[in-house]
Symmetry: C2
Subunit: 322 residues, 2 copies
């Protein structure tokens, strides 16, 4: 594998993970299509195992882990979907997963990782503490670090979601994914450029955490500084592997306000009767803002649009519209 996964790499990952991951459904809603004035197909990674697309990259890493490393296992630091995904994928193959989590992580997320038999090490809630604690865990266990986005196998695994979507819905004018660290977006962009080169690849990003937007349009890496957004899966900055892939293969990044994200999330819950987390709602939220502004930044009227709904994990006791 070079520094950019090839179509052959993505096809190999799809074959290898087939049956291990869910081939998630693609849903559409006439009602939402009317509201947006376009034809939208939603790739429902909220129905993926462990509740998010992260299970794809985690599974591809687990299934390609060298035999001699299986006993030592894998490790990562994460307080979110990647932690759950890695714990579950590892457990299904009998491989230990060491998860470094901030001691301030929500009880719901801790319970989920524990439910999947992840071995949790707690640390202070700073990036520095997370990284140094992970190093200690690695030294003690010899486990291999599986990075949530800045890793070629992770990117290749995430790419299989777009592959399934494009296979099921051909001739998309636009394909969209949310962007945080950029693993899903990189995989989506590469797959789309390989399989459907005329499709525009557009990312949705919270305006309150718009490091990818700024990096992309200024063509230099600008990290996030203390971002705050309800789309808590999208707080991280791009990585050294994902940024160049995105720069090369993404056509546009649209931003969405917090209010639009909540509105889009509510709309999907209400009209489609499916549960998505705030991060999943960001591309739709961005489209809603574009439409309100008379399509100034993107004319998607009557277009065929594929949107990857990234996940459905959130605290049902603490909804944003309470």
């Amino acid at each position: 594998m070079e520094t950019v996964p090839s179509l052959a790499d993505i096809n190999y990952a799809a074959d290898l993970t087939s049956g291990f991951i869910h081939r998630t459904p693609v849903l559409s809603s006439r009602n939402l299509n009317e509201i947006l004035g376009a034809k939208i197909w939603f790739k429902c990674e909220n129905f993926q195992k462990a509740g998010a697309f992260k299970f794809r990259g985690a599974s591809y890493n687990i299934l390609t882990l060298p035999e001699e490393e299986r006993e030592r296992g894998v490790c990562t630091h994460s307080s979110g979907n990647h932690a759950q995904a890695l714990a579950l994928a590892a457990r299904k193959k009998g491989i230990p997963a060491h998860i470094v989590m901030p001691e301030t992580s929500s009880p719901v997320k801790i319970a989920a990782v524990e439910g999947y038999r992840g071995k949790i090490t707690y640390c202070k809630p700073t990036l520095e503490a997370r990284e140094s604690t992970l190093l200690q865990v690695q030294e003690q266990t010899g486990a291999r670090e599986i990075h949530p986005y800045n890793d070629l196998k992770t990117i290749t695994g995430q790419a299989t979601a777009a592959k399934e979507l494009i296979e099921e819905v051909p001739e998309l004018d636009i394909i969209m994914a949310p962007v945080g660290g950029g693993g899903l977006l990189s995989g989506t962009a590469l797959t789309s450029k390989y399989m459907s080169p005329s499709t525009l690849v557009i990312a949705g990003e919270p305006a309150m955490a718009d490091d990818a937007y700024r990096s992309f349009y200024q063509k230099k890496f600008i990290p996030s500084v203390n971002p705050t957004t309800i789309a808590d899966g999208l707080l991280t900055s791009l990585g050294s592997l994902t940024f160049p892939i995105i720069l090369e293969n993404v056509d546009q990044i649209l931003r969405a306000s917090e209010a639009s994200i909540i509105q889009a999330m509510h709309l999907v819950w209400e009209r489609m009767k499916i549960i998505i987390e705030p991060s999943s709602a960001v591309p739709l939220a961005a489209l809603m803002e574009v439409k309100e502004n008379r399509y100034k930044s993107l004319d998607f009227k009557d277009k065929r649009i594929g949107i990857i709904l990234s996940g459905g994990n959130l605290d049902l006791y603490n909804l944003p519209w309470k």
Copy 2:
């Protein structure tokens, strides 16, 4: 049509409504199967048009309305899913739908009926006022009343949900539906007895609105008296047509407490990432109680169980676990 729909009637309704209604997906969850200790397939009528199975019976009525009655239209009194379903089915065929609603109906429900262009007449929130207002509307408009459950065509239309489920998942040991007025349960029981006679037909009913349970086991009609349950789609008593069908074709009725209903609903939201209304959760809630009581009333361990999730309409701003 006799007083009981035949298999030919149900097949005819399925053919006629095909393409007009959604053939809804059947979903299952390994996680829920582990928790319940059985194999459960959920027929997702929460994804049906207008958000509930009621669209089936309403559609069959609309599609078989005599040509000469189309201009005068249809009418009903309902504050719930039947009102929305009838308004939408009628609108799709350009037929007026007159809906009598209690003036205390929630703004969400009123907005939904208005959104489907139903012509609303408000009345006092008593059964007497609903019926007398409906009579007035009928006199003024000549519209035909479409009863939400005590109507053979309505029952026949609702029966198509079980038909689709049984076609997709053969050899069910048990098929379950919630029971309120009994339209869905009657249709489910008849279809099951025709197509899969060895399958047990079991209803779930809120213990706080258990008129069907009492009527069924005492073999005489006992109406509900001021029932209060979170499962607000199941408040009505059985009808003169549905009660005999249920007595003849249902094998068992299980009751569920309010706490179990909320717990089951939360479980489906959390694990399956789909939105169901409280009424939909009643059969699963009943199974959870049976399991807790060591399967005393029903040994469903390792059994193949089909459950009809009746709908997904509820006020997202007012969830039961807040």
